[in-house]
């Protein structure tokens, strides 16, 4: 669509009331369940949530501030570029109709699309257990979580569309393999405990990755991320809660929880991408304030947070080298197998083909619904025009 010229984009509603509701929800977690399960505080998670709130407050504050210069008479190319740099430099947001460098636009489309695809494909591993959840409460929680992921995908496709691409085009690139999604979703969910491990580790890693994106220089992306991060915290907590319960169950349940953590730990570490030395897109992304921390910094942050949480869970992280380093205040850990990451990204993971096939089938199976709705809308329009 010709709609880099779209007015609007994802916004975070300005009402304090709504924010309260979301924060309270996040604080209580799983308030929708039918009770009976112990609530556990996840160490470190409340800190992340307050970072999201801080990013939101900053977004508002930046909007109230004036940009550095007066920006008067922006017309010629150089001045547009200078104005763009000024806005980004002042931690202001770039909006859909503002001028932006073509590489900034392209890089954002690639990143947001890949992010959106990950949310949508990410519904599959957990969706696998919806029909076999061990209780109605767990089923309701998992259903809500998977629905959230669909919502995240849609917020992000909408944010990408503000950059002048169409959602259909992005779907097409996903299905034809020209755009990627997070490698983590190419691993299978073998037991119910995997649902817990995904919530705790995969959503946990996603949050660490995504919280800094709440401060991204592109307004629609930043606002979508604020919305998403608030919802993600429930995802992580329900996973933690699930594992905590299993870890205190029968020997078999405990073993199942441990096995799930063993299998998901290193793929979760790999979610932060290749080590900084081999990372290709980083420098420019940082200058444009799309990315704010390096892959290795974020990975370390995740390990620091998670190592402590594993102790509370009473489960082991499968890393003999794991240990707290007093002088640095960080945990030492073993790096994931980046060769494996590259193989899985390039199509050779356990479930790559299955994931895309499933996505294609779901898309094709839904065609008649979309066509019927469109035909109905066309008929109504014709009727209205005739009347």
């Amino acid at each position: 669509m010709a709609a880099a010229h779209r007015v609007a984009a994802i916004a975070v509603s300005g009402s304090p009331g709504r924010r309260d509701v979301l924060q309270n929800l996040a604080a209580v977690t799983g308030c929708c369940n039918t009770g009976g399960m112990e609530r556990q505080e996840v160490p470190g998670a409340s800190g992340l949530l307050s970072e999201v709130a801080a990013a939101e407050a900053e977004l508002r504050a930046a909007a109230d501030r004036d940009r550095g210069g007066d920006g008067a008479g922006v017309a010629a190319g150089d001045e547009l570029a200078a104005y763009f740099d000024e806005v980004v430099g002042a931690d202001q947001k770039i909006e859909p109709r503002d001028w932006m460098p073509e590489a900034y636009r392209k890089g954002l489309v690639r990143q947001i699309a890949q992010h959106a695809h990950s949310e949508i494909i990410g519904m599959q591993p957990e969706g696998n257990w919806l029909s076999r959840a061990p209780s109605l409460a767990r089923k309701a929680i998992l259903l809500a979580k998977v629905q959230d992921e669909a919502g995240h995908g849609l917020y992000l496709y909408a944010a990408a569309e503000t950059l002048g691409v169409s959602r259909a085009e992005l779907f097409d690139k996903l299905l034809s393999g020209r755009q990627k999604y997070s490698s983590i979703f190419n691993y299978p969910t073998l037991t119910w405990a995997d649902v817990g491990a995904i919530g705790w580790l995969v959503d946990g890693a996603a949050i660490v990755n995504q919280v800094p994106l709440c401060r991204c220089s592109y307004g629609p992306y930043a606002r979508a991320m604020i919305r998403i991060c608030k919802e993600e915290s429930f995802h992580q907590r329900q996973g933690f809660d699930l594992l905590y319960t299993l870890a205190r169950g029968t020997d078999e349940q405990r073993a199942m929880a441990q096995d799930a953590v063993d299998r998901w730990w290193y793929p979760s570490l790999a979610m932060f991408g290749p080590p900084d030395a081999e990372s290709t897109h980083s420098t420019q992304s940082m200058a444009w304030k799309i990315k704010r921390f390096s892959n290795d910094e974020l990975r370390q942050k995740f390990v620091d947070m998670t190592a402590q949480q594993a102790e509370v869970l009473g489960l082991n992280l499968p890393d003999e080298a794991l240990g707290y380093d007093q002088p640095s205040g960080h945990w030492r850990y073993t790096q994931p197998d980046f060769g494996e990451l590259m193989r899985v990204i390039s199509g050779d993971g356990p479930c790559n083909r299955q994931r895309i096939e499933h996505r294609r089938r779901a898309h094709d199976d839904g065609a008649w619904v979309r066509d019927s709705a469109a035909a109905y809308a066309a008929k109504q329009r014709t009727r209205k025009a005739a009347a």
Binding site: A11, V74, E161
Partner: protein, 104 residues
């Protein structure tokens, strides 16, 4: 895509884009929360409910075809809003208030 004129063809990929506004609580204004695709207004409202109010974020929803919105151009922003720039006397703080005056 053909969304500019707000018409969709039967090709569902061309479902028009709708901008979504939510009133968080009674007494507050509707504010823009995002956008979505839907074949018609009725489905747009339903989709908006599922997408933007999964946690009771609103008591009322508006959907507007994105193509129906006319916006001021960001390129002419400064000139466009310039007339208000030199009228500081429209703000009460422009006027000095002598010491001792109350209720002004």
């Amino acid at each position: 895509m053909t969304v500019e004129n707000g018409q969709s063809t039967v090709d569902s990929q061309d479902w028009p884009l709708w901008e979504v506004f939510v009133r968080p609580r009674r007494g507050l204004a509707h504010s823009h929360v995002g956008s979505l695709h839907a074949s018609d207004a009725e489905l747009a409202v339903r989709n908006a409910r599922d997408l933007y109010t999964r946690r009771q974020e609103g008591v009322s929803i508006w959907v507007v075809p994105a193509a129906a919105i006319t916006a001021s151009s960001p390129d002419e922003k400064d000139a466009f809003f310039e007339p208000a720039g030199d009228k500081v006397y429209r703000h009460p703080t422009f006027y000095p208030v002598p010491e001792g005056v109350e209720h002004l």
